[in-house]
Subunit: 206 residues, 4 copies
């Protein structure tokens, strides 16, 4: 099925063009012409692979999310409970250039989603996917007795998601405020706090 492969490859090139333009110049600069030029193709080619500009942009967003989810799946392989939670978060946070681009793309769409039902729908779907992935592991941690007794799993899941969105915004707007190290510190301080005390700690308390 060579045609199919070419089709997907060309679509991917256009999506990557969007990912390069948004971090560099913002989503307002992501015109169809600019995208085509960035991808080194002609203007008209765009319509062969996407029904319209909105679909292309939304696909760029969805694919960015999908990449993160793929990484999460791979990153959690063989892990369970809080270890898996930590692995997921390390893929969701804008810790390196690749993840930062995803944050930049994501944040760029947040503002456009008001009054754009289609975009809101995509956002909601991705939110739920992230919630499901994360809450599954949090529940798992609870089952494994890794969570302190006063930690409610859904609250923790929610706290983690809010953290990702808050830090993503920070990374886009004030990158110097949230260097990699700082992000990991914040994450680990949360994980430490919600962890059930170890036997050693219990002993120390007594």
């Amino acid at each position: 099925m060579p045609k199919r492969v070419d089709m997907e490859a060309r679509r991917a090139e256009l999506l990557e063009a969007v990912w390069r333009i948004i971090p560099r110049s913002g989503i307002a600069a992501a015109t169809t012409r600019a995208i085509a030029r960035e991808a080194s193709v002609s203007n008209g080619v765009l319509s062969h692979y996407f029904p319209d500009k909105d679909s292309l942009l939304i696909e760029a967003l969805r694919t960015a999310y999908a990449r993160a989810h793929t990484r999460m799946r791979e990153g959690t392989r063989g892990l369970v409970g809080l270890d898996a939670v930590r692995a997921i978060m390390l893929e969701a946070l804008p810790l390196d250039e690749t993840r930062l681009v995803e944050a930049q793309v994501g944040v760029s769409f947040w503002g456009l989603s008001l009054g754009n039902e289609r975009l809101l729908e995509v956002m909601r779907t991705e939110w739920e996917r992230f919630w499901d992935v994360l809450s599954f592991r949090v529940d798992e941690a609870r089952s494994l007795g890794q969570l302190a007794d006063d930690v409610r799993p859904d609250d923790l899941t929610h706290e983690l998601i809010v953290l990702v969105e808050g830090i993503s915004a920070q990374a886009v707007l004030y990158p110097s405020r949230v260097p990699t190290k700082r992000q990991v510190e914040i994450l680990d301080s949360i994980l430490k706090r919600v962890s059930a005390p170890t036997q050693a700690e219990n002993a120390a308390l007594e």
Copy 2:
């Protein structure tokens, strides 16, 4: 006698038009014509009160932030330390319709700030203003002995700001996920965690 106009009142009307359009239809729909129509004036009137559209939008953003800061000042009157921190957060979080609009306006600009130096500058300035207001009270709480020993003031300030941005994003994208009550719960759970144990608690531990 010339026709007198309350310049500031007129400017405020236009800013309010922006605040109505953005939550309803998104910032992409905030064209000069739409703003004029929303404010029930003619197209050309914009140029009497703002040099250009960008200045109007940025002013709408800045004024939204300024309103929140005014409320913070009023809300913290007579309060100190963690009580003041809590009062500030209650004004910063999208707890009611008014604050939600501010969050919607703010989030709408986040995406536009990539590749827009002027907007980034505004964002940075507001960030620092918020940081100063909040960190002053957090430091105060530390001085008053209200913070647990292992809490670093700047980390707490940062955590609170990240929380505001994360919850603002949530409120814009998935309003049903962060009802007023939930937001206050999250805030109070943080404040409780960072508080120095009371004497009663200390006694209980012994």
Copy 3:
């Protein structure tokens, strides 16, 4: 009749504003607002003194021509024939700042006159006025025997008018090419050429 005086004074102020703007920034910059600002009056005042912008501009043109004609009348007082012709030309050529402004204003309107019947009419009227003034003196010179036999009065008049327009264009576009001295040289070389030979010259030829 004080009202009358104020009326004329105010009209003059507006016309002078036009004369300042055109040399400095071109006729495209002569908007009603710019003219009002230059004259230190409000926008609306313009309509009290001129029915519309076109009338104001045309009046600015006509008044510039009128000033030159006044100077010609004064400059030729007591003169006849070629002396008067020379005096007229010295007032018509852009020899100093005042006359240069008139040239700049005049040339600025030339391009606008295409397709503007009203402006063309003004131009034609002024042309005839200039022709009449000049040809009267040229004819006078002929009567006084000041012109060489082979000089046709109307040709000379025409040549002089073409010279004024050509040099005016030069002065507007390439001021350094036609300094005062150069202009007078050109004028005098023409006048010398068309002059009847003096007795001394006649003697020399024999």
Copy 4:
């Protein structure tokens, strides 16, 4: 196979549209819409061939000058000295409809050049080109002994250029005053005046 378009031919059509509009309605009527309509294309097409309106208009001016220069080159083929000068002038003067259009276009820009540095630069460049072409032939005439002893070549060149500009202005403003025949008469009277006397004339004088 892409739709092929003769880029230069298309640009020429737009320039010709400008050349039709300016003589008919003036340069103020040369809006982008009017130009597009005149060329029977849509508004947006302009931006394919010119970066902006100013560039289109300036190109229209430059091309008009270029056409004249091309004609001058062709018209002077095989000619030298005063014959070449005359040929050049016959192409520069608004002697027929084609040349009149060039004069109308040129004069239309004169007024706009005040306060427009870019346009002034174009004017200056064209002025120098014309000066070079003309002065080369005048110098040649001097070398060939065709000029009377008291004629300074640069003065003659300048006189001829001033004549072209003066007559161009006349042709635009009062076309009936400078019919073809009149223009040629004026030109030839100048050329005759500056010519070195022939042997026959010398003999007659003795």
